[in-house]
Symmetry: C2
Subunit: 463 residues, 2 copies
């Protein structure tokens, strides 16, 4: 139970500083950026009496109050003595942000082992070292030196701090956000399993994203995945899949690298989603963050652009999925909104003249249609016939809203990243956009896979 890391009543920043070129300053400022009426903050600095008008203590032992979390940012060589103080102070948890331990050399590794042992004996849990810290956006709490994530329903545990940083940029772009974030760095104590256990119980963590480079406690980890995935989507990305990648991850080469295939099988067996690259990772977070799970695998596609639906359809077949056949009833209903040139087949190519009305009406008909479970609306923004660039997307989202958002809707706006009005509309409406046929097809694939997993779980329960 490491809940106090995310919901601390008191925090001590050890190594706080007024120097804006130091991480001790970045963490202090990030915490102070928002008001935390229920968290007492204490700054520990050996040089300063006060920072930003806040009194500083020269040691955590001088703080006249119990401390839940100590965040350590002092140089590596004095971390051990600071840890000794924290043990005396009986803090609940420690986050060691300082780098320069096992990732650097043997000396660092030995130092790390001593710290690990000391904290274990004292019964104090430790995150890090060599990490950026944690965030609980539900409390507006950024106890890290990276940017505050946007608020959302995704919780992320990352072994790399900078990967967290990059992911926040990507999520912000997509109008997505974070509930909790933890970077466990060298993970000498608090592990993936600990954090996952917390995320699995946390109401606001609807989707869990994991970036990992090395795995400890494999069996526990896989068991935890298997358990959580029944009620929350788990999205994983593994760095250090190959020997070069592993070498880059500065860890034990060879053995783990050569085992990526085995790891892949093991993770797939749990039902968690192992992504092969960072784009798929973000696509998966987006799909599960915004879209409902479908009831089946019947896909309906509409488009104004042959090329986009052709490329989408290719990918769908490569995933061993197929497009549904339209019923005669649906064809009849759709017909009256379409020009005679349009062939009533799936994908439905409404041709470049289709505008907001067609997109609204056809998307709505497909969403209302019992024989379809997922609707994919492809658009290449037409730069002609006085069309407004966001009208198609507007029609699509309105249809989704008007049908109660019961089915997953995949708007594919092919290479439409530069249309700010569409992006803004998506953020305002909390609706997704996929920008390539591959991204859209991947979203469809993983939503259908999750639908199957849930069905299987329900069946198992009912037996």
């Amino acid at each position: 139970m490491i809940d106090y890391f995310f919901y601390p009543k008191s925090i001590a920043v050890i190594g706080a500083t007024a120097n804006p070129k130091k991480f001790g300053n970045a963490v202090t400022l990030n915490i102070l950026k928002n008001k935390h009426p229920n968290i007492d903050l204490f700054l520990i600095s050996q040089n300063r009496k006060e920072i930003l008008g806040i009194k500083c203590y020269s040691s955590i032992l001088d703080v006249p109050q119990a401390i839940d979390i100590a965040i350590i940012l002092v140089p590596a060589r004095i971390v051990q003595s600071v840890i000794d103080d924290c043990i005396k102070k009986r803090v609940k948890g420690i986050i060691i942000i300082t780098a320069g331990f096992s990732e650097i050399n043997d000396e660092g590794r030995k130092e790390e082992e001593i710290i690990t042992r000391k904290c274990k004996e004292a019964g104090i849990r430790v995150m890090g070292p060599n990490c950026v810290g944690i965030q609980n956006i539900d409390l507006s709490l950024n106890a890290s030196f990276i940017q505050t994530a946007p608020l959302g329903n995704i919780s992320i545990i990352s072994q790399s701090g900078s990967f967290g940083c990059a992911t926040f940029y990507a999520l912000e772009q997509e109008g997505l956000g974070i509930s909790k974030f933890a970077n466990i760095g060298n993970n000498i104590d608090v592990s993936f399993v600990d954090v996952l256990e917390f995320f699995s119980r946390d109401m606001n963590s609807k989707i869990i994203g994991i970036y990992m480079e090395t795995i400890k406690h494999g069996r526990n980890f896989f068991n935890k995945l298997r358990e959580i995935v029944q009620h929350k989507p788990l999205i994983l990305l593994k760095g250090g899949r190959t020997s070069i990648g592993m070498k880059a991850a500065s860890s034990h080469t060879g053995s783990i690298a050569s085992n990526y295939k085995i790891l892949k099988v093991a993770i797939n067996q749990t039902g968690a989603l192992l992504c092969e690259n960072s784009t798929d990772f973000i696509t998966a977070l987006k799909a599960f963050s915004i879209l409902p799970i479908p009831h089946g695998s019947h896909i309906g596609v509409l488009t104004n652009s042959g090329g986009s639906s052709v490329l989408f359809s290719d990918k769908i077949e490569e995933y061993n999925l197929s497009l549904a056949s339209f019923t005669n009833e649906l064809k009849d209903k759709m017909k009256k909104f379409l020009i005679p040139l349009v062939k009533l087949v799936n994908p439905l190519d409404m041709i470049g003249v289709a505008g907001e009305d067609q997109y609204y009406n056809i998307t709505k008909l497909m969403l209302e249609e019992d024989s379809l479970d997922i609707v994919v609306a492809c658009v290449v923004i037409p730069p002609f016939l006085e069309m407004v660039s966001d009208e198609h997307y507007r029609g699509i989202v309105k249809a989704w809203n008007d049908t109660g958002r019961k089915k997953p809707l995949i708007p594919l706006i092919f290479f439409g990243e530069s249309f700010k009005n569409i992006n803004q509309l998506a953020k305002k409406e909390k609706a997704p956009i996929f920008y390539t046929p591959d991204e859209a097809a991947y979203a469809v694939k993983i939503l259908i896979e999750r639908a199957k997993l849930i069905k299987k779980a329900d069946k198992n329960l009912s037996i």
Copy 2:
């Protein structure tokens, strides 16, 4: 020789109209948007005496001058009679933009066959039908109904018009541009081979991109690819790779679909690059449009973020490539710019504190280093320590400029799409940005492949 399609001395737009809801208006406006002192434009309209102050003729036969290119936008049912007029007028080439032929039904197919035969007998070349038109950006000539592409060194032939449209959006985002564009639609006459033959001779077409759905004249096509690829990069994307995709492409199902594997082998044998998805297609255009070809395959990597270089390295090994070892001389030179925590190995992780100076100096050292052929500079924009978001990229590009841009430089700004200042700097400097480890690794892979192909060609020549 279809040069007159791209360099016409006179154009007749048949089906010109003042109605902004018609494609005949879009094409007319697009041509008129820029001044063409060396092109005479004639508008043919049965209803109007003038459009936008330009006199209209009721038939092309009334035009008192020879016509190089007739662009047809009248309804499908009267295309044949208009074609008859064009034949009488002895135009050199015809672009049939009108849709509603073989892609619709058997009646349309028959009509198409009659038109094909008539034009063939008259010795007139035809593009289309069912296409968006052509563009020659070197002349600022947009003879299509889609947006005018940005100017650049890429020439594209696309079977799908909307794919062209989407590609322009993507290229514009990346600061890339077009020299020539042709959409051959149902390609009843002018084929991939014809257009490729022209592009291969065209000085401004430095890179050639192809989007195709069906292939005619397979042997000629592959021979043409083999011939061109020796002196220009050829980037292909195939839509309709699977039976569903092919069905979506509304063409002969089955036989072609099941042959994608064979097609792939055939294209790979020519040395042309067949991309598996639209993202790779744009990445390839970007890499070849901006970067020089490396002299070898020795890759040097620097980073401020473990995660990004780990994911990059994984992909590099998956491509059967490897990272170079740094020489002791290089290590010595680099050392003085780095903090002691930094391990002098490839990838060089300079840690989050590295700013513009480190990026400039280390990138420059690697670019100057004889034992390295390609330099990959990974960045996760640090939101801390008062760093300026574009300083790393600035340092990287300055190093590239200061070393004469002799080697390919791959800046990986991980998920940095939202940093407008970086994107603007890239456009101003005509420097590339890659946004994911996979994109960067793909660029490295294809540059190295092309280096090998050129070496092999040189060897063959010298034998």
